[in-house]
Symmetry: C2
Subunit: 349 residues, 2 copies
């Protein structure tokens, strides 16, 4: 114990704070990297060393001082998000040094965390034999659960139906495309580069991929890609992409509102064509959700996602930025569509 | 039979045709009243004499030459809609002269109709002992079924939840308010006159009624009326009324899209605040429907609605315009909000 304590004191801790709230698109100035005290785990806690940070579009909402489904980040307090870490010191019977864990934790090199799920700074173990530990932030983490429940519980794709996915090359979108394929649906992805679309068609096997940035007439391109109309629309993006998709929905279509990344940085609420008339004449459903709505069923989803990974039915793509100090840039890159698959920040080995 | 035939020939038939398609708000010129041949029922058919015509907002959509969930009215062909009629001559074993029937039928004084539900010009019997026969076009007809399935199947109001109803004083709205009360919910109606709102509070017992025409700040008036937020929004109206309601929805709210009467006469698709961000952060559901989606369960609904009427738990209001020739005016009055409860046209005794 004495040895461990001395070792801890030699380490240097760093944290990334929310320095200011963005107006519109965030900038690096909204973040501040500072040195921090090395945390000392209390009885029942573990000291963890961060290996990977997750950057996710929903975190943009937490940068605003506005009540939402998760509380806003506090000014001059650490950003928190998905983290994969290694236990370096354990004062909990449930963990041993060397365990790999994940949780919603501060952006820090070192954190003292509880093993209790009820706490914000709590962690659960990751099984490193199943897949690379980084997947605990992707396919076997929040994005995986989000794709699983949003598509299967709300979208309910049937064999032969057409499923359109916006943000199709992102962390959630790549999984939605593949799960819809597993269910026998016809999948059309929408993404913002030819490279991404090639990945969708060549690697993930979607039937068609539409580049929303280069399509002169997006609706017409989508219509060509969806000759039988749209039965399920899994929406990560919102805005004009959705306007085009919604003109093509079939009777009893299901529209899954998972994200609206095109709107997150607008300074004024956006307006667009009203959706209610289309929903009415098509007897269509539009449903928003957040993954924690399904917390009681996470076990089911982890089990199924793990089996699909083990069977080689689900591929995962990761875009990795190296270095703790580059986490803000990785986050900002999400809004420029820089990532293919899950965007991660690698902090340690 | 000879006697009956001669009697038929003495009668004069009239019909109301779609003379032209409206641009924006319909006018009387879009309709044309003409004399018509007296139909002669074939074997298996009945000759019926119209007693009541129903005018319904959804019929506006059928005046456009645009594919929707029901085919458009044909130019220079009779308008068709809900009708209650008396059998004056039967060539069907299933009907006798004097039977009261209802169906989706042409706007005519006399029609030859089949007893086969699969046909457009088909009828089913109405039990005149249950309630006035006009209710087959209201509480015990399409509006009743619409309120029943939309509210209970999609809205799913729980005891103590707040249910907001737009178009609350209309044919469907008055029933939704009452069924929500039966289910133990707190009901807030939105209507366009103080007289209507007084009916909602004094006769139907809703907790609050908001006049959208006289409220200077509709959102603020609704907020006062819904201190606990909105759990279910049953929308007959759309547009800015809905914009205001949607700012007040609770987590896991259900938004039932039943009608959008404020938009039916617009010449251009309307724009408004995008709804997806609210649905997302509130895990809320928005679902459109048409009553025929529930055709397999009409028996269940008729049974329950009939029991509630018999028990005095459901009141019905009717606004009746006298005279076949006034059917177009009665229809146009819907868009001016002239009706309290179900708008009917009385054609015969």
């Amino acid at each position: 114990m004495e040895e461990g304590t001395r070792d801890t004191e030699k380490r240097m801790n760093k944290t990334i704070l929310l320095a200011s709230r963005p107006q519109g698109m965030p900038t690096p100035d909204n973040f501040k990297l500072v040195e921090a005290e090395m945390p000392r785990p209390q009885e029942g806690e573990v000291l963890i060393r961060t290996l990977y940070l997750s950057v996710d579009p929903y975190m943009r909402g937490r940068m605003n001082d506005r009540k939402s489904y998760v509380p806003p980040f506090a000014l001059n307090e650490p950003i928190t998000g998905g983290v994969v870490a290694e236990v370096v010191e354990s004062r909990s019977d449930a963990f041993a040094a060397g365990d790999i864990v994940t949780g919603l934790l501060p952006w820090q090199l070192y954190t003292a965390a509880k093993g209790d799920h009820a706490e914000v700074t709590s962690v659960r173990k990751v099984d490193p034999r199943l897949a690379p530990v980084s997947t605990a932030l992707g396919i076997l983490g929040m994005p995986g659960l989000t794709a699983y429940f949003g598509l299967l519980d709300i979208g309910q794709p049937a064999p032969g139906e057409t499923v359109v996915v916006s943000g199709a090359a992102g962390a959630v979108g790549t999984l939605v495309c593949q799960i819809a394929k597993i269910k026998g649906s016809r999948v059309v992805g929408i993404a913002g580069s030819d490279e991404k679309n090639q990945y969708l068609t060549d690697e993930l096997g979607v039937e068609a991929a539409v580049n929303y940035k280069t399509s002169i007439d997006l609706r017409s391109a989508l219509k060509d890609a969806c000759p039988g109309g749209v039965d399920v629309y899994f929406d990560n993006v919102g805005g004009e992409v959705s306007d085009a998709v919604l003109t093509l929905i079939n009777n009893r279509a299901r529209i899954v509102i998972c994200g609206q990344i095109s709107l997150y940085n607008l300074e004024q609420p956006d307006t667009g064509p009203r959706v209610q008339p289309s929903l009415l004449v098509k007897s269509a459903l539009m449903q928003g959700f957040i993954v924690s709505d399904y917390a009681a069923r996470f076990g089911e989803a982890f089990g199924q996602l793990g089996r699909w990974v083990a069977e080689g039915k689900l591929k995962y793509a990761e875009s990795i930025v190296e270095g703790f100090e580059n986490a803000p840039q990785a986050f900002l890159g999400l809004f420029a569509g820089e990532n293919l698959g899950k965007q991660l920040v690698k902090v340690g080995d």
